[in-house]
Subunit: 458 residues, 2 copies
């Protein structure tokens, strides 16, 4: 009884530290505040610098994250192999200034990391909600077939080329080659959509194709993952699970679109009846979080749910008001996501002084080449739209981001990837993620956009 009452005492009472065996919430709060502080400083410095250099802001935020993260300053690190509280500069700072005992440091570190990770996830959920609010379902549907083709080409080409190349050129066994090939299929919807949004190209035909293809790619990636993981584990494909994923993903997307038309009026009706603060944003978040949960629960990604929610609400008359309200919330949480992505990027795999890295870097060169070419060719598959910027579409599909690392994480946990291959996959993810934003900005200049007619969201 006493303890939960104590933890009720949200605002920080250091006296409690010694008396409770649960984590001292005052110290966790201090850690979270410091983590947000360094994240904001890094994202703003990085973003502003990138902007001055004519690069996408998000690249600066990612690099800001790298600098405060595990590769350089160790201000923002996360528990993992070889990383505990003693690796975290913030924990050491709290030990010096805030009376954190070394014994309690690990539990405070873990709690703080959990909170920052979830804030980052909420950040990308809100980013995709905002992207959904800025997109238009009809425009997306208009380029739907092109998006499907781009997505499929972008999955098949890198997968086949990567797997075959690793087996033939590097003589690797089939299963690890298939795994690495699968890691090449993903597209990071977060990074691509953020760059497009920054460039004001989200509502160009190219932007809509990229966005649609990235969404479909995400779903395809989840299916590929399920296939490859069951293959690696049991030597056979769990057909039932694959069918379940395909059916649930299709059902979810079609359901969201169908629901959208029914839901629009009900949503506006409810919002208009509310009289207390947050009358629009809270119902919107209830919807977005419910969709995110639903997507998560049926084994899709939470961001697909919030994106669908944004698309549905974009159809309502509350669109513009909601876009305005979501802006500062996105400004607060989205940078946390990109900084966290950067901070978790371990650049030590690029160090050629480590022997396994050298072998890995050679494989990485191959994987990066396949990763880039395999996505750039997708632009060639776009048909029926003359004068479209095919190169921009291909380049927009390049960043693998966090999704590529999901494959790596699972491969590692099953224990089928060699150290050099692991390093190669990490390098491939890093290079594609960090290269895509400036490349996209370069190949997609202002005057080269085919604007859609129905764009009216700004």
């Amino acid at each position: 009884m006493h303890l939960d009452l104590v933890s009720f005492s949200l605002p920080t009472f250091p006296l409690l530290a010694s008396t409770s065996e649960t984590v001292d919430s005052s110290l966790v709060l201090a850690g979270v505040l410091l983590s947000l502080l360094v994240s904001y400083l890094a994202s703003k410095l990085g973003g502003e610098l990138a902007n001055r250099l004519g690069l996408p802001t998000v690249l600066g935020e990612l690099i800001g994250g790298v600098i405060i993260g595990v590769s350089v300053l160790h201000l923002l690190v996360f528990p993992g192999e070889g990383i505990d509280a003693s690796s975290s500069a913030i924990m050491r700072f709290l030990e010096l200034t805030d009376g954190l005992s070394p014994a309690a440091a690990n539990s405070v570190f873990e709690a703080q990391s959990e909170v920052i990770s979830i804030l980052a996830e909420l950040g990308v959920i809100i980013l995709l909600f905002e992207i959904g609010l800025e997109s238009n379902l009809k425009d997306l549907m208009a380029v739907g077939i092109q998006a499907v083709v781009v997505a499929c080409v972008g999955v098949v080409v890198p997968f086949v080329a990567g797997t075959a190349g690793l087996m033939i050129i590097f003589g690797l066994p089939a299963i690890p080659s298939i795994f690495a090939g699968a890691a090449l299929t993903a597209t990071s919807i977060g990074i691509t959509s953020k760059v497009l949004s920054e460039m004001g190209k989200l509502n160009s035909k190219e932007g809509q194709i990229i966005l649609g293809a990235a969404v479909i790619d995400d779903i395809l990636g989840i299916i590929v993952l399920a296939v490859v993981a069951s293959l690696a584990k049991d030597g056979a494909v769990d057909v039932g699970n694959v069918v379940y994923l395909i059916v649930s993903a299709t059902g979810f997307l079609l359901g969201a679109i169908a629901l959208g038309n029914l839901f629009n009026k009900a949503f506006v009706g409810v919002v208009n009846k509310l009289k207390t603060r947050g009358e629009l944003i809270i119902p919107a978040f209830i919807f977005a979080f419910a969709m995110a949960y639903l997507a998560d629960a049926i084994q899709l990604e939470a961001i697909l749910g919030s994106f669908a929610a944004g698309l549905v609400l974009e159809e309502t008359e509350k669109r513009k008001e909601l876009q305005k309200l979501i802006l500062p919330i996105a400004d607060m949480l989205v940078p946390v996501f990109f900084v966290v992505v950067g901070s978790k990027t371990d650049l030590s795999v690029l160090n050629p002084a480590v022997p396994s890295n050298r072998e890995g870097l050679i494989m990485a060169t191959f994987l990066v080449t396949v990763a880039i070419i395999g996505k750039v060719v997708t632009g060639l598959s776009v048909f029926g739209i003359p004068q479209i910027n095919r190169l921009a579409i291909g380049v927009g599909m390049i960043p693998r981001g966090e999704v590529g690392l999901v494959f790596l994480g699972i491969g590692s946990s099953i224990g089928i990837l060699s150290k050099p291959l692991e390093a190669a996959i990490i390098v491939m993810v890093i290079v594609t993620t960090f290269l895509a934003p400036p490349l996209l900005k370069f190949v997609f200049p202002e005057q080269n956009t085919t604007q859609l007619k129905s764009v009216d969201s700004e």
Copy 2:
């Protein structure tokens, strides 16, 4: 395996997650999304209902929290004595729908609870930042002496009356009586300021006195706590620590005010140079979180830091713009705080069927009486301002909120409080917290306000 694999989801890099024994972040995210969902539903339903009944919204949010919390539905509960994952309806739901294994449930439950607790703390930090942005330092200073007197009277009267009454009427020993007396001294700045803000009375003379007195009360409460805790623990007062607290608190407040004047122009100058999204909100949060951390580090409360930051930024030309940006962020996070406060309120202490509750309820009647009268009389101490609503000031100081429970938590952990006395303190906190909002609205009608002349913040 598949479940687990796919639920790996994204932004928390599974590369790390898979290799360490940390909690499955996809399930934590699912738990957090569901917790936010029920919190938003409860706060909106409660708030709207309260509004329709002419009661303060925040009371509805608190009661909404009680209903989804440990007292009724068990949707939002927090780890503690007798409470683990099996008590949480959300965890049971995740076991049913999301493949959460009972073995993993406790660690997911703990991680989810940590995240929601910190979101609630960020909520109250942002609430006080917003309150600071709506307040005016000069107006606060103008009623500074009155606020100090109100705060001191509101600490001394309940403390003396409560301690003496428990010793004389109930025959309790000195130390537990002093502890319970100390628990009577606090004022919950969060609840009072939110009600005033809702009523548009924050910038009335009464509102400014209440706000100023609540801030000073918070600091006095921390000092009282340090005195009482060391008294209970060692039988003697740790004079050094008390002096440290007094000096650091005074230094912090004066420092913030002094800094304010120097900092204003630098802040605006930096903001005007920034060119990427979040150019105002991110620097503002950097400042607010730094102040919150600083206040936390010198053993004050984080909310005092963010309040001071708000006051300082209120002096800048960016005030209005910042108020607009903070609005949706506060709407998103502040309700989480009040719902969490409600959800942690255990109404079972009000059940007279339990023998120790009966004795406790008698003591509680006494404590509630002292708690209310002891604060209401503070209004009488206001001098030099004719026609001021003295009753409103007294009533505004009534809610004990979470601060009262801190005393309880520490007393319990030292083991000096009997079960009935514990129950009595909880009842006192519950009654004052839930009674104050409607009472304040009742005694502080629209026409009875002495508006300050310099109010221009809306």
